[in-house]
Symmetry: C2
Subunit: 350 residues, 2 copies
């Protein structure tokens, strides 16, 4: 057992502060990782503040983890000491249920072991995330990160990357497809980069004209203001696929009107309240409203390999751990382009 | 030009009564059909009573038409006099737009020419439907009906059949798939027959225990009462596909809970008011809520050929034309198993 330095929340109200967590010695199938960078996800704030209920404290958040392998167990074959590795939202699952058998560990019927604010599959041992200097995870849930990628920029791929890559693949995003991305934040900026890399003609749909230049730099060829009614007539029937990252209340029916026949809007952001959907919005045009949650382990590895091949990382602002509370406040105001990443070296000093 | 006897609505309030309509002499690409049977669809009532607005009178309803070809134009190749033929919801479209090019004439960007209560593509000549002794339609919108099928039972395939066949195909209904059908009416009974014929394990989801025996006779292997809360726990995560035929208000989220990960609920019934949908219902499980409207001409022919090969027709109650007003009342009470079909011979007497 080793002691890792960490940053933790102790209750829903107070700022996060330094802490330590115990990490087990690697078992036969385990991989020990020296964490280099950990991204900050909106869900970190929700869980730290107990906005989804059931939060467990002390909580060491962080599920966008990139680091170097330091030790591996005897049966580990895919990774070795020195490899660049990643850990995302899950550290284990039952591995036998129907969902796990279909490479959808995020929907494990016994409930996956989430990387933090959860337990291992023994349902007793608490899990702690990547706002820490080291983590030990079973090989089956450790991803290989291409050496060609900047490790800080790669960290958010483990959540924001797979969350947007998976729906693009599920809905077969292809060369020439017209893809709309609603909202330019942590998820939206990855959706633009990934869809553009797949050859899609990407349009950013945003409430803020200030986002236009950035959207185009990231790969969008079009931009439209969702605050203007004209957008919804001009682009009616335009898109094959819309990736909707917005978690504020908005009218889905208007966006469904932007789809071509057989087009799909995928939700990766979840407004807190149900939103009225007219059956007519779906029936006229054989349209689809879908949801998508992160991705399975195999697809996450596929995404990382894809990003390696295409040189895709997240746009990040690197901060030391002691700026995490400030980063939460700025993130909630949308004041980050586009993901905060903690430099874990800041936790390792004397 | 010939005169066809017909049954027509003259305003939204009064009963339908005898009428006549002019049918053009067949042009080079036209097919003239002596109508044998015409099914009665719920949408006939909505349009007769102007419940969707914009109804045009006198109106001869009917878009589930089966008859014998009597004459064809010089350039017609697919059909000849004596053939059993069908006409569904459309009699023409622009044939050049993106939707038409994709065999989705029902979403023609110029607006398809609907079989009745509409106009030909000249946007002047009114169209009149199958509550009549004859119809003349361009070959491109006339379907071949397999001779092996009972013509009365085949008539509802032109709307109820394609409306349920298309979503089963769109969502790749396959052997062993678990398919739920919500509501056992004109659409629901076709969905059960078709899904069962494709090898799916079909469960009828109904508010009425009285429907169980019939559902099983039609091909369902399971039955569950949607009026019982226990159904929604017992069958949680069970279905690959749900075909939802209900047009009364109901909670989509409960039904989305019955889907497996990556499962789809397709709406073919449209409740009048929007229904609140929780993004969480879709995101947890990568689920899909979709709509589907009839089907294109090529798919309608595919469906008829499929039904011919599998001996599938609608369960019908055959009535003379002068019982149509009574049939409307009974249909609105759900008192028909499962489709009224007008025997057009009743219009042809002296």
């Amino acid at each position: 057992m080793t002691i890792a330095r960490a940053y933790a929340a102790f209750n829903p109200k107070d700022p996060l502060r330094p802490h330590t967590v115990e990490r087990r010695d690697p078992g036969p199938s385990d991989v020990e990782i020296d964490i280099l960078f950990c991204g900050i996800c909106h869900s970190d704030v929700h869980q730290v503040r107990d906005e989804w209920g059931g939060s467990m404290y002390p909580m060491v958040p962080g599920h966008e983890i990139v680091g170097r392998v330091t030790r591996v167990g005897a049966s580990v074959t895919r990774l070795k000491a020195g490899d660049l590795a990643g850990v995302g939202c899950m550290v284990d699952s039952c591995r036998t249920c129907e969902s796990c058998a279909r490479d959808l560990e995020q929907f494990c019927q016994k409930g996956a072991a989430y990387t933090y604010n959860g337990t291992e599959m023994d349902r007793k041992t608490p899990t702690h995330g990547g706002y820490s200097t080291a983590v030990v995870v079973d090989e089956a849930f450790v991803l290989g990160v291409p050496e060609s990628l900047d490790p800080a920029g790669a960290a958010p791929l483990l959540c924001a990357g797979i969350t947007t890559y998976s729906p693009l693949r599920q809905w077969n995003c292809s060369k020439g497809d017209r893809v709309g991305v609603v909202g330019l934040g942590g998820l939206g900026h990855m959706a633009v980069k990934l869809a553009a890399s797949m050859g899609a003609e990407v349009t950013m749909l945003s409430t803020s004209r200030a986002k236009e230049a950035d959207a185009k730099r990231l790969g969008a060829s079009g931009f439209a203001l969702t605050s203007e009614d004209a957008t919804f007539t001009k682009l009616a029937g335009h898109f094959d696929l819309i990736v909707n990252t917005i978690s504020a209340p908005h009218d889905y029916n208007r966006y469904l009107g932007l789809l071509r026949p057989q087009g799909t809007m995928v939700l990766v952001g979840a407004p807190p309240q149900p939103i009225p959907v007219s059956a007519f919005s779906l029936i006229f045009g054989n349209k689809r409203l879908a949801g998508s949650l992160i991705g399975g382990i195999a697809e996450t590895q596929e995404m990382l390999d894809y990003c390696g091949a295409h040189g895709i990382v997240s746009d990040v602002e690197i901060i030391p751990a002691d700026k995490v509370n400030e980063a939460y406040e700025r993130m909630l105001k949308g004041d980050v382009r586009y993901r905060f990443v903690i430099d874990i070296a800041s936790l390792k000093g004397a």
